[in-house]
């Protein structure tokens, strides 16, 4: 997995390329926590180039959303493919996150 990080106004966009699983989930967690530590409150994770996610990856997303909401911000998601959409629906995490079809719509939603 690799992460591409960019900024759009006050939103930090993290693009996940590859699988988000137990062996690499800490990279994403630390990167977003570092941004939060630096004052960022709005984070968008874009899964357009992502592979599959396991329960550890889902857990990291829950953890990051909690942290950002505690700080008065939010974590939003975009571009889930059909497999990822199925995972979020199976676990009912689709009710915990605001998920947009496109990056643009996600940015507009903040």
């Amino acid at each position: 997995m690799s992460l591409q990080v960019s900024k759009h106004g006050d939103v930090v966009i993290v693009e996940v390329d590859g699988q988000l699983i137990v062996s690499n989930r800490q990279e994403l967690k630390q990167r977003v926590l570092d941004e939060a530590e630096a004052g960022v409150r709005k984070v968008l994770i874009d899964f357009a180039k992502a592979g599959y996610i396991d329960s550890s990856g889902l857990g990291v997303l829950v953890s990051l959303a909690k942290r950002l909401r505690e700080l008065g911000g939010d974590l939003r998601l975009a571009n889930l493919n059909d497999d990822l959409q199925t995972l979020f629906e199976l676990t009912k995490l689709d009710s915990l996150f605001q998920i947009a079809d496109t990056r643009e719509r996600a940015l507009e939603s903040f």
Partner: protein, 139 residues
Amino acid sequence: MASNAALDIRVPSDVQQIAGIVAQVVRRCRECRFAGRQLTLNVPVALTEALSNAILRGNGDSAGKHVRVRADVTELRLVLEVEDEGDGFDLEACTLDPTTVENRSREDGRGLFLMRSLMDRVERFRGDGNVVRLTLVRR
């Protein structure tokens, strides 16, 4: 039943091994013409969960231990066995329902649920070690 694409490997108990093992099993399933969704979702997620459980819980994240993975793939079905050196666990008792309102915001507790949601059958038993067997019918 004759195996079209069998795999039997023993690897160090390390989460960095997971991606390579998953890739090998998915390749064998692709050779046996499993459906695209099974190759991109069911098999990789369920096997990753089984390996992660074996390495982190069964073997207690101990680098000196090993995990054995057997995959028997035919054009009818995939049977996977993941064996660790732990004492085993009660599959029913350990499976949480992460969809309830109180569990939905938990950071953990989705692994066994996903395994059981994405496979046709999940069993746990004692072999030489603690074995989790996953069965998926080809579609």
